[in-house]
Symmetry: C2
Subunit: 323 residues, 2 copies
């Protein structure tokens, strides 16, 4: 992956400049919070994928950098809202914005970043861009609401329902980023669709891999505390796998643990032990890798190129992140 960052260094530097210069508000608090969160060390996965997709489709223009910055604004808006929703303490190892400026400011600056991105994308005057981004934001917000409705463990979700939820929550925006790159490269409908599906599957793999970090990651390295998702009652694939495969007595034990108002360290460790016993984490990793393979196969119609290679490396990176 280091080679990809290296090879597209100039594009990514330009995107970085655009991210910081396009905020476009004379309200100091908007700039302050936006700059804080946008400089918080995000990996810029969505901008990278947009740029690579645009390059794959032969785009030579400079609009891709600005467009990539607006996609990052939308992603950043969801982070601001998610951290309020989850009452998160940290984001990427730093104190979360809502703990520094309050929930009010985080909600409203999140709204601003959404609106600024939509407003700026309209200025491209390309109907397809508006259509793709607006539909993806609709799907994404729908996925977020699905997540909180389903997080109550009243029944064990099927894996299909879980995938539908994360396809919306995480896949939709990544799919849109890839398709928008294709649109800028004047790709035909079938190439656009291929890149959309590439992004959708990649996003799904990314979310499954991210879910696993909760059970196998190291809090200090990832800026995420082990067991956070469990404590918040968030559904993840390893947990679903466990609940579907465990024998009835022990399922009762796990569900009793989950239903407590607060999960202690010992409760979390017990669940992780059971997950290891039932191979739930390995299973999830296998599913994530399957989605990566499906993503790569969506690119079958494109000839070999540096951009295609880079997209495939980026796809592999989804399941090979630091955990």
């Amino acid at each position: 992956m280091a080679d990809v960052w290296d090879c597209y260094h100039r594009d990514l530097t330009t995107v970085e400049e655009q991210i910081l210069t396009n905020i476009g508000s004379d309200v100091p608090l908007v700039k302050e919070i936006s700059t804080f969160i946008l400089q918080g060390g995000g990996k810029r996965i969505r901008p990278l994928l947009l740029v690579l997709s645009a390059r794959l489709c032969g785009c030579q223009g400079h609009e891709m950098h600005a467009l990539a910055s607006f996609v990052e604004y939308i992603h950043t808006a969801t982070l601001l809202h998610d951290d309020v929703v989850d009452d998160a303490e940290f984001r990427r190892g730093k104190e979360a914005a809502h703990r520094l400026w309050g929930n009010q400011a985080s909600i409203l600056v999140g709204d601003y970043l959404y609106a600024k991105a939509v407003r700026s994308i309209v200025d491209f005057r390309i109907h397809e861009l508006n259509s793709v981004i607006a539909e993806s934001v609709r799907r994404m917000t729908e996925g977020e609401v699905m997540q909180i409705s389903l997080n109550r463990y009243q029944r064990v979700l099927s894996q299909t329902e879980y995938v539908q939820m994360i396809e919306r929550k995480t896949g939709a925006l990544i799919a849109a980023a890839c398709q928008m790159g294709a649109i800028l490269g004047d790709a035909d409908a079938s190439d656009q669709e291929a890149l959309f599906h590439f992004g959708l599957r990649l996003g799904t793999a990314y979310q499954i891999a991210d879910d696993m970090l909760d059970y196998v990651g190291h809090g200090d390295r990832l800026g995420k505390t082990l067991g956070t998702d469990l404590r918040q009652g968030k559904i993840t694939l390893p947990l679903l796998h466990l609940l579907h495969h465990i024998d009835a007595t022990r399922r009762g034990e796990v569900q009793a643990l989950l239903e407590q108002s607060y999960l202690g360290q010992g409760d979390i460790e017990r669940i992780v032990v059971l997950m290891n016993e039932y191979g739930s984490v390995e299973y999830s990793m296998a599913i994530a890798c399957e989605y990566v393979d499906k993503a790569k196969s969506a690119l079958g119609g494109f000839g070999e190129s540096t951009a295609k290679q880079a997209l495939c490396i980026a796809a592999d990176y989804m399941t090979a992140r630091d955990h």
Copy 2:
């Protein structure tokens, strides 16, 4: 005003149907919360103004009703977020959504309604509509952030700064509703601009009048508790007027009251007594009426018509609401 509701009854009934049928999500919680808040007895000022502006410009089509419903979605999204931001107990006399479903759901369903509206407006395939709505949402969210940044009484705002804030917070969306009606009616740039300014001034008048309700309204009739804005440290025109005109000793007294962590009933009554002594509420009403007059004068270029009359009545209604 009853005559206006009556005369445009069919348009408004169609808008009402569209509001309830266009939600467009298969996620039950999205539908449940959206329907709850959309059926919460809103006055549909923005849809009415959009329809009247469209009629004024000769629009005969049916797109106006759907478009009006999407503008109401955006307004509703801001209500969901505002109630979380303000930790409001009630909305229009009913328990606020976030107290029934939680802050998480209110934030995310608000995001959904924004996204759904933008997504649906894109489908009209009229660039000007996208441009006008996206810019107005950007301005509006900017106004919301301005409000919380300015709400700290560290210095007394000028009236100009206050008006700049409410023009964005409340004026921008109403101005967009009027201009979008004009766009559907194929109005030329100068008629569009006239309706934009009509809406902007109307929105400003509306917000000033709404601010006054905090000091003269009756909690039970308005679903708003007397003194709420004061308790939340919200800047309103009567308070600004008082702080600008009161003598230095008493200004110290008022500022000491405002700086308390909790304002008791007695504190609020004391401030209201001072406002009456300095004519701050009357002054605010006069300014609101000035904005109504400026709004009406923006329509000078349009010939007489039922729609124009109705817009003027709606303008007067802004300062004559139930208080």
